[in-house]
């Protein structure tokens, strides 16, 4: 288990958004968080790289350990944590820079300056995000000239460029067309060979298609967490069954 979440409580000022979450996330697997809007799945995802830190009024209790170290402990450096735990967002958000500079952004932040080294990282990352063939001749072009699906794969490449161990994907296909979605789903399957992937999706079928484990959230609580096949074939909790059979949400 690469991530262990224990007795996690999260409050947005007075609102109790995550209630006593206990969860283990296995290494080199795709774990999907599903549940209706506002159930806390994205909030939990954002506690894993401490992106909630920037939101005023957030209070967190409990423990989140990654490879045995509490990421909310005083000795954890947020910047270093985020380098290890990459994130891809719902809307593709490439920087208004060239394709090359987008991918090189992370490595440069962390001190890589040699051109040859950067070139290698950029090519490797773009290949891993299956984007290299499409952009290898236009690396100097603005990232904003790419299509939405390409932009999202660029954002994946950008996240991979700092060599994270964990990749968080926050509804990363919901703003994309079906073909781009399929590409990103295939990519996600490939990436789990090397990375632990935690994804939030509002699309149950997507969770069923590509995840190894599925966690069902409702009102800030974990209702059920098990292997994807088991969860969809024979859910233990009645609420899970109601949700996956489309009775609500």
């Amino acid at each position: 288990m690469i991530i262990e979440i224990e007795r996690l409580q999260l409050y947005y000022s007075a609102f109790h958004a995550l209630k006593n979450v206990n969860l283990s996330i296995p290494e080199n697997r795709v774990t999907a968080f599903i549940g209706p809007s506002g159930c806390g799945k994205s909030t939990l995802l954002r506690t894993l790289n401490r992106m909630n830190d920037t939101i005023p009024g957030v209070r967190i209790e409990g423990e989140v350990t990654i490879q045995g170290r509490n990421i909310y402990g005083s000795e954890t450096e947020v910047e270093f944590l985020r380098k290890r735990v990459g994130m891809v967002f719902q809307q593709p958000n490439p920087f208004p820079k060239s394709i090359y500079d987008n991918v090189a952004y992370g490595p440069r932040l962390h001190g890589v300056t040699k051109k040859a080294e950067l070139d290698g990282i950029v090519e490797r990352s773009l290949r891993s995000a299956s984007l290299w063939q499409e952009v290898k001749d236009v690396l100097k072009k603005s990232a904003w000239s790419l299509s939405g699906g390409q932009q999202q794969r660029l954002c994946i490449a950008r996240a991979l460029a700092v060599e994270p161990e964990i990749l968080l994907m926050d509804e990363s296909t919901s703003a994309l067309d079906p073909i781009s979605t399929t590409k990103i789903e295939e990519l996600t399957r490939e990436l789990r060979e090397k990375y632990t992937i935690v994804m939030v999706t509002h699309n149950m079928h997507q969770a069923a298609r590509i995840s190894d484990r599925t966690v069902f959230f409702l009102n800030g609580e974990v209702v059920e967490a098990s292997d994807t096949e088991a969860l969809f074939r024979s859910p233990v909790d009645q609420r899970t069954e109601d949700y996956i059979s489309g009775r609500f949400g």
Binding site: N49, M51, T54, E79, F80, L81, R82, K83, G86, M87, F89, Q91, N93, P94, F95, P96, K97, Y105, G106, L109, H110, S142, W144, C155, R158, A159, V162
Partner: protein, 324 residues
């Protein structure tokens, strides 16, 4: 400032612009529809009239200034070269001279220096208000800076004359009055322009860009320096250019602290003058139609052309920020 009021005239008129209903009163059976058309027509007519009036006013101002300002060159024997590069301004002498270079120099140096002082202050204030302490910025710093925009320029000039000039006189060699004093006063005056535009630009930055940077392990400073500032640069420069334009056109406050000696000074702490100061100081002593009076109009024409130039630069920057 960049005349957005003239835009509606450039819009293609809506196809429903109905000359059919314009003349005759609508027939009775059409009832409601006719009433709507009449209202539509009345509203459009009013807007078009206002725009037309505005265009006429702007056009007349430009034509008037140009006709007066060009007279010395066209029919009174002054050369453009003399005006732009001449060093001697003696309009009432037996051999009148119209070298406006010292004024141009004074206007440009005070405005640019003011921008150099105010730009970092304004942009840092904007960063503070948007990125660092939004709450404190919004409740205290922003109103304080906006207040600066409401202070009359004579008050700035007075404060400059009683505080800044004596300070400069005691600290640096020279009389205290001069370009430095003018630039300091102007920098405070243009601070609200630069800060407000910078704040708007920073606030309108998509949140996703900042998150994307933080998620890669960037610190706040790295995010500001590598993403926020480069992305908003055209808008930030727009604020600076508008600040320079404001400083360039400011007359009273500068005139009170610059000393008004019509020559190019050897230091920042020596008496100098600007285009606006020389116009306000001299215009009461000339008669309409005289060469001296027309020469002042030429200076006004130069100011007008500079304003056009600033507006043009701002437009270019806006276009660049849209196609980023």
């Amino acid at each position: 400032m960049n005349l957005p009021e003239t835009r509606p005239s450039a819009d293609p008129a809506t196809p429903r612009n109905a000359p059919a209903t314009a003349g005759a009163p609508a027939p009775k059976p059409a009832g409601k529809a006719a009433k709507h058309r009449l209202e539509e027509w009345r509203g459009q007519a009013f807007v078009y009239l206002c725009v037309l009036l505005l265009v006429v006013i702007i056009f007349s101002i430009v034509v008037f200034i140009a006709s007066r300002g060009l007279t010395p060159f066209v029919s009174q024997g002054v050369s453009v070269k003399e005006m732009l590069f001449g060093l001697e301004w003696a309009p009432e002498a037996d051999h009148p001279m119209f070298g406006a270079l010292p004024f141009l120099f004074g206007s440009f140096s005070t405005s640019l220096l003011a921008a150099i002082i105010a730009a970092p202050l304004g942009i840092c204030a904007a960063l503070f208000m948007t990125e660092m302490m939004p709450k404190l910025g919004k409740t205290i710093l922003q109103p304080a800076i906006e207040l600066l925009a409401g202070i009359p320029s004579v008050v700035y000039g007075f404060v400059g004359l009683s505080v800044i000039v004596p300070f400069l006189r005691h600290t640096f060699p020279g009389q205290g009055v001069g370009i430095m004093a003018g630039a300091i006063v102007l920098s405070v005056m243009i601070l609200p322009t630069i800060t407000t535009i910078a704040t708007d630009a920073l606030r309108s930055l998509p949140a996703g860009l900042k998150e994307g940077s933080y998620a890669l392990g960037a610190t706040r400073w790295q995010t500001i320096a590598r993403i926020i500032l480069p992305t908003t640069l055209p808008a930030l420069l727009t604020g600076v250019v508008l600040g320079i334009a404001r400083a360039f056109g400011e007359a009273l406050a500068v005139q009170m602290v610059i000393g008004n000696a019509p020559h190019i000074p050897h230091s920042l702490f020596e008496s100098a003058t600007t285009l606006t100061s020389i116009i306000t100081l001299s215009m009461g002593n000339t008669t309409t139609g005289s060469l001296h009076n027309n020469a002042l109009w030429s200076l006004a024409l130069i100011l007008l052309l500079m304003t056009f130039l600033f507006v043009f630069i701002v437009r270019m920057l806006e276009r660049r920020s849209k196609h980023a």
